[in-house]
Point group: C2
Chain length 388, copies 2
């Protein structure tokens, strides 16, 4: 991070945390937040990890005051992403605890800072994987804010404005976030069905839209969980003939119901052989080590294969000879930018593309996490924030 | 391998090994081969590995008789590729021994089978990394014979026609090969300078030509050994501004002499940082594990990064998050097809692009192998086959 950018970021944080003298507070049921005077920290409740055990427990903490460019959102639902588990368990590096996970967040705007025109109190809003960037660099202005070297991801990232020193996520009853990093949730989609779009939705939507496949093209999806089942639905909605690869036999029926042409149960890598060189494009959500070259071999030579699942340590081992023989281009994609985040919500609302969800109470979160790891989720757990 | 292809291959081998009644033998100094009656095995001498120690010793063995579609080549020079060492040491899987390595082979045609019109006795000829394929499949007729599922690579591959049961390579005084898999060596390039083109040349030429970069484009080359130094020269000849990345400081001067714009000594991955997102294309010849995402990050987002080096076990571990942040397409390339093999020889002869070589006697081969592993080769050892 260069000095200039560092300064810019500090300046931004200083600016944005200056008192919201004209902070507008709404009449919301979230009394604790609404009763908080401007310029004071916002009390919050959440479920937090306190160590690498992967066990979450209730925790009371504080959010920053609502700055001039911030909105306070009363969270209604937050859904569970495999990334939450990886990060809390330290799979991606050491963490600061207590830490509240969650980056698929929807709720109602309860207060807005004086500069905020994007939202008004009472609006439906969502927050995804990032809560701050410099907004000035080439990436922020070009290929995507998520690539900004200064991105603050939604939980566990250093955040000077946060009373806990790090960003705290959405398994919580409220969140304070810069308006730029919240998106509108149309009335035509339920809160609970909108939540998973904020990460699972945009992470698959972004590369699928960029792949620009044609109607009738053969598109593969590997790893049919929260992300994968959205990838099937999105690719089907774009007219693709979808081939879905899963290691879980009892997902086959669901996969066909999502609109896929074929469900291939890969209990042995040989099951991939009949599809060798057949697909125009493939996206994989597999969040653990696997044989990349074997899976990529189902794509046509010179085609593209996009990794969105992030395994332990982010490490993927691939066979160089396998990749030379399949002649497939491997790339990886990181969530999506803020425009794409709004786009996927609108797109899914307009096209009635809804994730398959199971709403749970907060106290069920540890059991739900175990099910996600054990591949038992069907397909996204959504926490009812009223139970936090 | 399906049954049909298996049969086809057997049929081919039966056909091609039927007596060469009209076998034409030339007046060559290779008395042993020239004196061999048609339809009898050809006596041969070579340097062979007998186990995974990586030590080669002189060995007498037999080649198949010269079939109707075969040529017998009296080998003049054979050069040393890092692949020879990897394969003999079992890095890419268990091997059958004794095995003669070598797939950069040049010499003079000493005999031709009755169907051969491509060569006549006395012609200069070269053999690269493969000596047989089905010649019928989609890959043989399309993207390249090296992708044929039935490819017989030049050494260590099962070959029914070979008296030793496997193909035997070019650290030898002669070779029998189907005419299709030999290329012409123009008079305008020396034998010893032509030898490295048969693998190092074509392996870099193929992806560099396919990359279709424009004059003035910034092209990276990582790993400046036998392949890398050819990659620099070839990319420079196509008008690229070449950035060469090496871990060996004393190669920097040579790199500039090869025509590169910059030589970057990567003694620390931080040395890559100033080049982040700068290059239009990159090729890497690094034949060991390394940080793929860090190196690929010097390529512009959405650009391409081609791996041609093959590490131990062919395994490359890359960071999925690193690849998502750099947004670079990783692919790998396997040698080149037979047309490209002829093309690179002609191209280098016409453009006076010569590998930097050191000619050695056969008895120096073990010392030379050690130097290759220790990164002391400058840049290709070429064995004088007269000393075998």
């Amino acid at each position: 991070m260069d000095k200039k950018k560092g300064l810019t970021r500090r300046e931004f944080i200083e600016t944005s945390t200056i008192a919201g003298a004209s902070l507008m507070l709404g009449n919301t049921p979230n009394a604790s937040a609404a009763e908080t005077p401007a310029n004071q920290n916002i009390p919050s409740r959440g479920y937090a990890a306190t160590d690498e055990s992967g066990i979450l427990t209730p925790w009371e903490f504080e959010r920053r005051p609502v700055g001039d460019n911030d909105v306070l959102i009363d969270i209604k639902f937050a859904s569970i992403c495999h990334s939450d588990i990886h990060q809390m368990k330290g799979h991606w590096g050491p963490q600061q605890y207590p830490q509240v996970p969650g980056h698929e967040i929807v709720g109602v705007v309860a207060a807005v800072g004086k500069n905020v025109t994007k939202f008004k109190v009472g609006d439906r809003a969502g927050v995804g994987c990032m809560v701050d960037t410099c907004l000035e660099c080439e990436d922020c202005k070009g290929q995507g804010e998520q690539y900004c070297p200064e991105t603050t991801f939604t939980y566990g990232y250093p955040e000077e404005s946060s009373p806990t020193g790090i960003s705290q996520g959405g398994y919580s009853n409220n969140i304070v976030v810069r308006d730029y990093f919240a998106v509108h949730i149309p009335e035509s989609i339920s809160f609970q069905e909108a939540a998973p779009l904020l990460c699972a939705g945009v992470t698959t939507y972004s590369p699928i839209m960029k792949a620009e496949f044609k109607k009738g093209d053969k598109v593969g999806v590997a790893g049919i969980g929260g992300l994968g089942h959205m990838a099937i639905k999105l690719a089907v909605s774009k007219g693709a003939e979808v081939y879905a690869f899963t290691t879980t036999p009892d997902k086959a029926k669901d996969i066909l119901a999502f609109g896929a042409k074929e469900a291939i149960v890969v209990d042995d890598l040989q099951k991939l052989a009949p599809y060798k060189g057949m697909l125009d494009y493939m996206i994989t959500t597999i969040p653990v080590q696997y044989d990349v070259a074997a899976y990529a071999s189902v794509v046509k030579p010179n085609g593209f294969y996009t990794q969105v699942g992030m395994p332990e340590g982010f490490a993927l081992t691939l066979s160089a000879i396998g990749m030379s023989i399949n002649r497939v281009n491997f790339n990886a994609s990181l969530i999506g930018d803020m425009k794409e985040t709004q786009d996927v919500v609108n797109y899914c609302a307009n096209h009635k593309i809804y994730p398959q969800i199971e709403v749970i109470n907060a106290e069920q979160v540890n059991e739900a996490w175990k099910n996600v790891v054990d591949k038992k989720a069907r397909y996204r757990y959504v926490i009812d924030a009223a139970t936090i």
